[in-house]
Symmetry: C2
Subunit: 460 residues, 2 copies
């Protein structure tokens, strides 16, 4: 095995090197992300309007565009010790397989039972809920990564966790459901008969298998009507989530600094943006402050291309149109990616922070097709050992493409990408790929125009 | 979080500290394990008789009762770097939940895609197959842990891997099958129509869903009839497998020594014995040489209690009775644990090395019931984060019981146990437990007598 400058295959920071503060990239942004708007009034959402839904401390974090560093509570750092620091891995085996002069590193966030980086924010959100004296929290989940992470976090702090799981996933993907139940969460197939919105949807569409939009609505309704005992928590898109996920980038940067490594390219997959935003944040901070330059790349599925084919505009965060409006790159809240799209990252919009940074030219975006993503995933699994999540594999695809460009040009670029998680609960998608039964699904211009034409009319 | 003597939650050795040699505990055994016998002649199996089935170097290792340390090939050490050294974890969260004065450590082998310790031997066996110039290897798998590990190892060395998977698992547990296929293995439901024995069994028992014994027979037949292009590889029971698995114990001991920790009790789950044998080997070596004393505990399921209710006698290694005879603790090769037994560890026999050590009084054994095992698993998952495999949870159960005894007596014992893997592919069993639908299954004396009465009549 190659051993470049005595850089080991895996680099672990010591436990005491887990960062003590999260980094808030908004503090260094020349143009701040646009505020969320109240869909009724069209005015920026106030803290008072947010507190019926979110925990108080999280509302503060959501609205704080100025404080660059925010302390990580000691209780959260204790929990982080279970699975952090996560390793920074030098992909020697992949480099060898590609025969590239590029040096490839990845930050691996999948070494925990939730199987992804989502736990970084889940434990923070659960902590603030506990601190506020809540009885529990509500949330929604599709495939189940976020729901699993929040269940684990709530179990640790002895909080009730009520997860509205899209019915089709609840029935067809029972394994993550059972992981959540093992952690003590109550998992309810959505639409349920427990909420007004659930009852209404069940009446209007008998036999419906549910949607993420509907599950969000149910979870929010239960929180709002709980008399303050429950709040709602969300695993991506929000500013607070990107703040918590900055731990990924801060650890990655600390490990790079320790090894004397400076990445030229930083690559992450982007659905709602939580992983990408977290991974890049300290590097982006340097870039915003003019201290360093990095080529920062968001990778999205060609079947759900919000950055590369969407509009930068105010839109609803949910398909049910009950949540606030966010200014973001969006395909329109009525856009639904093809059912045949297996690769995750199905969200119609994108984190407002990342949207603003992209709009202002601080990063670029690439859309990739799912068969090429799974081909990259398979190669990666075989040479690097870890079977990656389909979402993470979007980043692998572009990392490989960049490394192959280096092979052509002879450049020795240093590539860093985020490996957000493992694919152990995604074997149905792998089976499709193994059987040669997977296709690519690119929305037509007409399809995108149809959903984009329904954007709310807001001047901002 | 507690921080006893500055011992971190996770201790990783450095990459260069991965052991360079495996330890062969047989070298220090006063009474060596009895040799395998040729079922036809009743005579000890010679190297010549083993080479049609196994790789040459592995035959040597199988028969070597004298060499205490055997070099780990550099290529195998390179692969180990992908997922080793595995962490030694101080179970601070579990100690706190139990409110025990005991200090609990566990060696976690589940941080790799195969999800268990099986990869430690798979990569060694694949290496020797490659070195011998073979085209590929054959094996059988039930739930799929071993098959997955061997698929990963073969993919790394570009070897064909043919896995005969018990048909009922192939059909009902498709996820591990797809992991194997992603690593390029060909997975065949057993009994198949590709082998004589498979055809015969399909004719005799139309619609049969297969058995491990039949899958072994098919895999061996294909290897033997391949004209030397393929050999058969096995993931447990054999001496060579325990040798490779000694890496677990050597790393654990090195980490203990580094931390200044000496375990009083060492606990491992035992099916065929590969994990337990690996974990205890360097500690057992000290005990055999009179250098130290440890309370070494094998934990087996009450539904398949080979140590605690079996006989120490020669028996067939497979239910099909085509494999050699081994002297071991056995329930009889016709014994089949209850179909309702969900906890893994279903093998009727036990590693000859461990059987001899147990017979000679160097270790003890405990049988535990599966509902208590899953209760321990759930507690462990909630407080330590990792969702354990049902097999590993047998060791967790006894570690908890020992820690609770310390709570009663006030003793500050140091407990070390092996956490062999994760339960991500075992959610059907967890679902049963979550639903309160799991029972306990203890074979009656009559049932055991029935299978034990069929032991072959061998004087040895």
């Amino acid at each position: 095995m190659k051993n470049d400058n005595n850089i080991p295959y895996k680099t672990y920071l010591e436990e005491h090197e887990i960062p003590r503060q999260w980094y808030n990239v908004r503090a260094d942004m020349p143009v701040k992300p646009a505020p969320l708007l109240n869909p009724g009034t069209g005015q920026p959402l106030t803290a008072e309007e947010m507190t019926p839904i979110f925990c108080e401390e999280l509302v503060k974090q959501e609205l704080d565009n100025d404080t660059p560093y925010i302390d990580i509570p000691e209780e959260v750092r204790d929990f982080y010790k279970m699975y952090r620091p996560s390793p920074l891995i030098r992909a020697y085996f992949l480099e060898e397989a590609l025969d590239t002069p590029a040096k490839i590193y990845y930050k691996f966030e999948g070494s925990n039972t939730s199987g992804s980086h989502k736990l970084n924010s889940a434990i923070a959100q659960a902590y603030y809920a506990k601190k506020q004296g809540l009885k529990g929290v509500t949330t929604e989940t599709g495939a189940g990564q976020w729901g699993t992470a929040l269940s684990m976090a709530c179990s640790y702090f002895d909080l009730d966790c009520k997860v509205y799981m899209v019915k089709v996933s609840y029935e067809q993907k029972p394994f993550r459901r059972e992981v959540m139940r093992t952690y003590g969460a109550s998992v309810v197939p959505s639409p349920s008969l427990e909420t007004d919105i659930g009852k209404k949807i069940n009446e209007e569409f008998p036999g419906t298998t549910g949607s993420l939009g509907c599950a969000i609505s149910e979870a929010v309704e239960v929180a709002v009507k709980s008399g303050g005992e429950y709040k709602y928590e969300l695993g991506s898109v929000l500013n607070q989530v990107l703040l918590h996920q900055s731990i990924i980038g801060m650890e990655a940067k600390a490990a790079c600094d320790k090894l004397g490594v400076k990445p030229d390219i930083i690559i992450g997959c982007a659905g709602g943006g939580s992983n990408l935003g977290g991974l890049i944040s300290p590097f982006m901070g340097e870039k915003l402050r003019g201290e360093a330059d990095y080529d920062i790349v968001a990778v999205e599925p060609a079947s759900c291309p919000s950055f590369t084919r969407g509009k930068f505009a105010y839109d609803f965060c949910d398909t049910g149109k009950i949540c606030p409006l966010a200014k973001m790159y969006t395909l329109g809240s009525s856009f639904i990616p093809s059912a045949n799209h297996a690769g995750g990252l199905r969200y119609h919009g994108m984190s407002p922070v990342l949207s603003q940074l992209y709009h202002d030219g601080y990063m670029r975006a690439v859309a990739v097709e799912q068969t090429s993503v799974f081909a990259a995933a398979e190669l990666f699994a075989r040479v690097e050992g870890t079977l990656p999540a389909p979402e993470s594999s979007h980043a692998i695809r572009v990392a490989i493409d960049e490394a192959l460009k280096c092979k052509e040009t002879g450049e020795e670029k240093t590539i860093l990408f985020g490996l957000t998680g493992t694919g152990y609960f995604d074997m149905v998608a792998y089976e499709k790929f193994n059987d040669g039964a997977m296709g690519d699904y690119i929305p037509s211009d007409e399809e995108l125009e149809a959903s984009l034409s329904q954007l709310p009319q807001i001047d901002a």
